[in-house]
Symmetry: C2
Subunit: 842 residues, 2 copies
């Protein structure tokens, strides 16, 4: 039932872990040829979403250190390149979109003799564009669907989402987005642009790594660059560098390193600069100004007594924002639950977007219903009109209202401008909520921004009607500026939907005026307060719908969450290897489990945690043990020993052929590596011959070889050439969920071991933590105890609970080493009393 | 030689640890009465700067959990109160300062008949004010001296600076600051206001805790509130909420939790709102507008071809900013090195500020040299004039320049306006650098901002002379706006001095116009790039001068820092207690060392780290063991045993008197606590009587008691009533300095234990880390190895070095449990080769 979501939002409709397991099962049944290869391929597949190796990223180890030294210079170049490319992309895309929309207008205008033809032209054009966009992205890269901000949030958290940062996705996203926006549907550019900028940064990194190598390959650096890229995305989309940086921080980060601040600022400023310079060079503008420049009066922007109206506007926008998020989720969930619709849509993937487009464009058809809701205006035109500094309603219906060619859209001969505005708001509201569920690259920021502006304009016009000469009591008359309300409404509604405060800054940069700063700030904060208490942000909502591997925030006011401890959620059945493990045990451990690293303990009895080893390291060890060098060695010795040349002849020829191409003696580590990576180091021809030989050796299971293999597997592992992380992150059983969550967020952990006085007792991964926070701790292997836990701290001694485990140890110790002294009777009494306060049990 | 710094900057002139040690020595020689009391008082003194108990603050434990649940409501109220109070303080202070400055003008204006009298009036007034300010703060609270931002940075890092957040300091800071600013010296309000707001938040917390208890006592909450308060401080000083939040984040944080973002925004917005509303209510303004409102044209704010000029302005400001920081430090260091000056100044603490004020005010005397540098203008008036949208130099010298009464200041009959500007810049530059070293509450932001504006105006006027009709080639003439350059220059220079980008936002909010966003951003980023590569920020410079316990940032490009490991800097001589320690050992351990917690290990042989115990817990244990209850118990039993009533008569009366006032049976923990805190729970009269009795018992060292005490000390410690942290932060020996630094910064640690496979081998505290980063790893007990370390990683196997310690263990293990298998000869070879690559030694 979950698969239907693919229609809606990209790919992550199933729990990723489940998917990974199924894949693994398929592979297992299909079967690898022999053990070694199957281990290798399976574990590669198992790690469907694997942790970024550098995602403890602030806390990185030696390999990150060298590059830190001399990279600052390279950073500048990279950021300039990124800004330049993104500004060009943004500008070209805007140009293409404007062209698309102009083409539709021409078609529509040229056919004004026949209403039916006009309607067909009006409707067909967006349907074709959207269908093309949906089909194109579906074929080329389904990961390009949707906003991209939720995915970036997840990627910056440290989780590698496969295929999300490839060239294919880049092409799909850019072309799909251009078509989608060109269709005139209520879709936005901001969210996808964050993704495009990140794609651009990732590709640029790869490109530069291929050219110059070294520095550009570092993954810590790439994460930093990705977060700068997010800022660039917003910055060059709106020509809003400061707002872009802040918005990207608010939307994608949990903890923000202030030392990375300047990167975002620099890149976003450069990008916004180039973006606007291009407009000047293209003679669109005389000089660099704001994208939606307003011309409100400076000397008296608003009256103090208008502030309550602004506050009410903010609160209303808060409710509106929450409603939008709820509506959006409701639509997606409805589509998923209706099995018949779901099945149909799954087979005909392009029907849904086409249908939605058809309905929306029919409703906005200007000679039809569209005349009551300014249907023929593009988003850009509508926004310019709404932010106009004239009052529409003054002296009847919009007499002096003749803004650049958009006048006829809003003033309808029969209908009041208020009706037009209300219809515009209501229709656009659900249209935007529906349109953003289409499987095309699209964002929701701009439509929401537009609705907010319209709502603000509505409130402003109402105020202008109520107080025609302004509120001010003194002699001078300062009429009310409805455009100011539109600015405030836009910021508040978009802030409510995205749960950000920085929309205020974006709005200043977009309009080029900061005079309404206090109303905007007040409205945005109130809208945020309302919306955050009702619904998650749109991006978090999508993360939940898509079931992305992201750690949710700990909500305030959830009582039980503070009483859950690590011991309630940890997986007790930890996969580990001991210092005396045999290769067979390593092989078995590798066959199961999903975590990228495995625990190394001293022995099964002591269980003292010594460190963790990456899977790939163990695979190397295993390959080394069963690898061709040793295999050949054995065969050669075997051949020498029994001297029978008849049935080992075939093997012998292999041996000699392998011998001739054996590289000069190298440390086993490199050798192994070149083997597991299909000998990429040797020349291609060499490599193919080598592989053929190896395959022959492996595929001819001589009886001695099988026996030798079994024997090899029983040997204890030689850890000498294995890189061990001697300090994996550890928690204790009593660590609270809250603390665990904070540590995981801060350090970007994937998993942490749970130890009890040095002994490994469990492991907690992102997955368990997520489940615990979402309140569904019901998976096998995970102990459910929240109902119990909620009663745990009801006693009056909260601090005692963390003490107990050491007391047990201490008591044991005392019992062993020292005779217990007789304590005075009153002390004994008190001890007993204390012991009663301590919770019994583990 | 360091003590002279007290003249300059508050108190932290000596290394705090040294001071603490001396204090401790003094106390030890002076002597407490008996052991128990001496232990208590000494360790209280030893912790001169102790770690905030909640400073692992994001990672807090159980006690923080309860309050999290229902505190959001209280937060709003608290933030509103804080905003309200700060807005009132800011407004009243502005009013008082304006009044002071007006008084000076009246005095100066009224005496225009006699030049000498006029001079005396002009000079005496600021000298008296500054001397009073210096004296007042010196007497009431020397901690109020200076900016306060460096201290807040340190406090938010988690270090408790004594006396920095008290009511005394609040009074001293507010009154001292008002006087200092009222004197008209080039001093700023911003930095001290950050401190004042934090003081206000801390006091408000205490007040509300006293009223409502519970929630307001939590320290994690207080830290969050302090960071919001910093934003309020900047916000209500400049009526710049967004800029305030960003500036406070940039200046005080290393890692920023995005979830605390809204607090700062909310409080700063509310505060800025009230601050400006007060101005409206006082009829100063008609409505809420910016503080330094500009009226630049909106349609064509600047030409694209002016951007190189803006860029050059930014770069020049970068150099200027670095020079300012250098100059400021140079002055302080000069004063310290000159022993004769130093000694003199130390005795006559008020001479230095009086002298500085005398020189500066003499130079600015309007009929004297001041006429060439607009000497009679206050900072506010100068800034308003500099941001004027008219061009001063057009058509000769400032013909049409008649801005509100400041015209005569800038246009001098004989001297060009350029000369005036240059003199203004040069004189104000060194004056500001000198003035900020005076021991009064003062900041440097505003003077620097003003100098930047003047420099920008200079560049702008030059441009206006060079291009009288503007640069634009098309038909329309857009003359150059020098005021825009002033805005850019102000943002760039203040950004360069403080190393922040958010001055750009502050400048928009201050002027109420955002049209120059791109020039400002470009200039600020360039200025930052230049300044950051030359000098530390002003606040970091002061932190170094004051030797505050702050962890410096890891600079880029310091090769050797990445090769230092924890084992190079850790203290190997760790104080620890074992599970079988006697009370005597605990007592000895408490007598030495400075860290707030002590390590608990299993035994001296195994050294396995079990957890850490706070000093106070151990002191409680010790007090309990030797405390009056047990003491009396012993005496009573002793008396009963030998039946001799003669010499224990005195003791016996004490016993009965103590018995009568003994509270009803309570658990020992509370009892102990009430004892150590001088029985604050009982009524005052009771308490005094109790204390007298205890003192008598303690002061009469009966021979049996002394013997009993010795016996008690030899008993093993009972850890049952002791709270143990079972998971103190641990590092391994091979952890790099870089990683250690990041973990310490992220988690706000004070110290971390170094373990080797569970065994405690050392401890690293903030102090060692700071020394290592500053490159002076020469203290006793700290192993110096950087020269060696720099060669360590010169081999080609960087990854190997972290592996070695486990190999040793493994080899040992192999040697013990399993017979070593014969390995094939080629493997042996490779192993040998590897071993050669591994560094020998510990």
């Amino acid at each position: 039932t979950l698969i239907g979501g693919e229609q809606m939002y990209g790919r992550y409709t199933q729990e990723l872990g489940v998917y990974a397991k199924e894949e693994a099962a398929r592979l297992r049944d299909g079967g690898g040829l022999r053990r070694v290869t199957s281990v290798r391929s399976r574990s590669a597949e198992l790690l469907e979403y694997e942790k970024d190796p550098c995602a403890k990223c602030h806390v990185c180890t030696s390999r990150c250190q060298k590059f830190l030294i001399s990279r600052v210079g390279e950073d500048w170049i990279f950021l300039i390149l990124l800004g330049l490319v993104m500004a060009l992309v943004s500008w070209v895309m805007d140009y293409a979109i404007a062209f698309c929309q102009q083409a539709q207008k021409w078609m529509y205008g040229g056919l004004d003799s026949n209403m039916l033809l006009q309607y067909l032209a009006w409707v067909t054009y967006p349907v074709v564009l959207i269908t093309f966009s949906a089909g194109f992205t579906q074929i080329l890269s389904p990961q390009a669907v949707g906003s991209g901000i939720p995915e970036m949030k997840t990627i910056l958290r440290g989780v590698v989402l496969k295929e999300y940062l490839t060239f294919k996705t880049f092409v799909a996203k850019v072309i799909g987005l251009t078509c989608a926006l060109g269709s005139g549907m209520p879709l936005g550019k901001e969210g996808p642009f964050v993704h495009v900028a990140s794609l651009c940064a990732a590709l640029l990194s790869k490109f530069l790594a291929a050219l110059f190598g070294g520095l550009y390959k570092n993954e810590l650096r790439n994460t930093e660059m990705l977060s700068a890229a997010c800022a660039v995305g917003v910055g060059c989309c709106f020509a809003a560098p400061i707002g872009g940086v802040l918005f990207s921080i608010e939307v994608t980060s949990t903890f923000f390193a202030v030392r990375n601040y300047w990167r975002g600022f620099f890149a976003a400023t450069f990008s916004a600069f180039i973006f606007r310079v291009l407009a000047v060079w293209n003679q669109d503008e005389e000089t660099i100004t704001a994208l939606f420049k307003t011309r409100f009066r400076l000397d008296f922007p608003f009256d103090l007594q208008e502030l309550p109206a602004f506050a009410i506007l903010g609160i209303a926008c808060g409710f509106g924002g929450a409603l939008f998020v709820y509506l959006n989720r409701l639509i997606v969930e409805c589509m998923r639950k209706q099995k018949t619709i779901n099945k149909f849509l799954l087979r005909k993937r392009l029907v849904y977007p086409a249908m939605v487009t058809l309905i929306i464009s029919t409703l906005t058809f200007p000679p039809g219903f569209g005349q009551f809701m300014a249907g023929q205006l593009t988003q850009h035109e509508s926004l310019v009109a709404l932010l106009d500094n004239r009052t529409w309603c003054r002296q009847g219906v919009a007499e002096e209202f003749d803004y650049i060619s958009h006048s006829h859209a809003w003033k309808h001969p029969q209908v009041n401008v208020f009706i037009t505005l209300i219809l515009f708001i209501v229709m656009k509201f659900w249209m935007s909520a529906v349109a953003t569920t289409m499987p095309v690259p699209c964002g929701a920021f701009m439509p929401v921004f537009l609705i907010g502006a319209a709502f603000g304009r509505l409130v402003g016009e109402t105020m202008a009607i109520m107080f025609p000469d302004g509120i001010h009591a003194d002699g001078s008359v300062y009429p009310i500026v409805p455009g100011g309300y539109a600015v405030v409404g836009a910021a508040a509604l978009s802030g409510a939907v995205t749960h950000t405060v920085s929309t205020a800054v974006i709005v200043f940069e977009l309009t080029g005026q900061i005079s309404h700063i206090l109303p905007v700030m007040i409205a945005v904060i109130l809208a945020n307060a309302v919306a955050q208490s009702l619904q998650p942000s749109l991006y978090d909502s999508i993360i939940r719908i898509k079931k992305l591997p992201y750690l949710p925030e700990l909500g305030m006011g959830h009582h039980e969450k503070y009483n859950i401890r690590v011991e309630d959620i940890m997986v007790r059945d930890v996969r580990y290897i001991t210092l005396s493990s045999s290769y067979r045990e390593v092989q078995e451990v590798l066959m199961t489990g999903q975590l990228k690293t495995l625990a190394l303990v001293e022995s099964t009895d002591s269980m003292i945690l010594l460190g963790s080893i990456e899977r790939s390291q163990l695979q190397s060890l295993l390959s080394l043990q069963l690898g061709p060098t040793r295999r050949l060695d054995h065969l050669r010795r075997h051949a020498q020993d029994n001297g029978t040349h008849t049935h080992t002849l075939g093997a012998h020829t292999h041996l000699t052929s392998l011998d001739t191409m054996d590289s000069p003696p190298s440390p086993p580590c490199t050798h192994t590596h070149s083997y597991t990576s299909n000998s990429s180091n040797t020349s291609a021809r060499h490599g193919v011959r080598f592989l053929v030989s190896v395959a022959e050796v492996i595929l001819n299971p001589l009886p001695q070889i099988a026996e030798w293999e079994e024997q090899q597997l029983d040997e204890p592992v030689d850890f000498n050439n294995c890189k061990i992380d001697p300090a994996p992150f550890q928690l204790v059983e009593r660590t609270s969920l809250h603390k665990t969550h904070t540590i995981f967020s801060l350090l970007g952990l994937d998993h942490a071991y749970v130890t009890s006085t040095g002994r490994l007792v469990g492991v907690v991964s992102l997955r368990e933590l997520r489940k615990a926070i979402e309140g569904s701790v019901t998976v096998t292997g995970v102990k459910v105890r929240p109902p119990l836990a909620s009663f745990r701290d009801s006693g009056n001694t909260t601090s005692v609970s963390e003490v107990t485990e050491l007391h047990k140890l201490w008591n044991r110790h005392r019992g062993l080493s020292l005779p217990r002294e007789p304590t005075p009777p009153d002390m004994e009494d008190q001890l007993d009393k204390d012991n009663k306060l301590l919770p019994k049990g583990s």
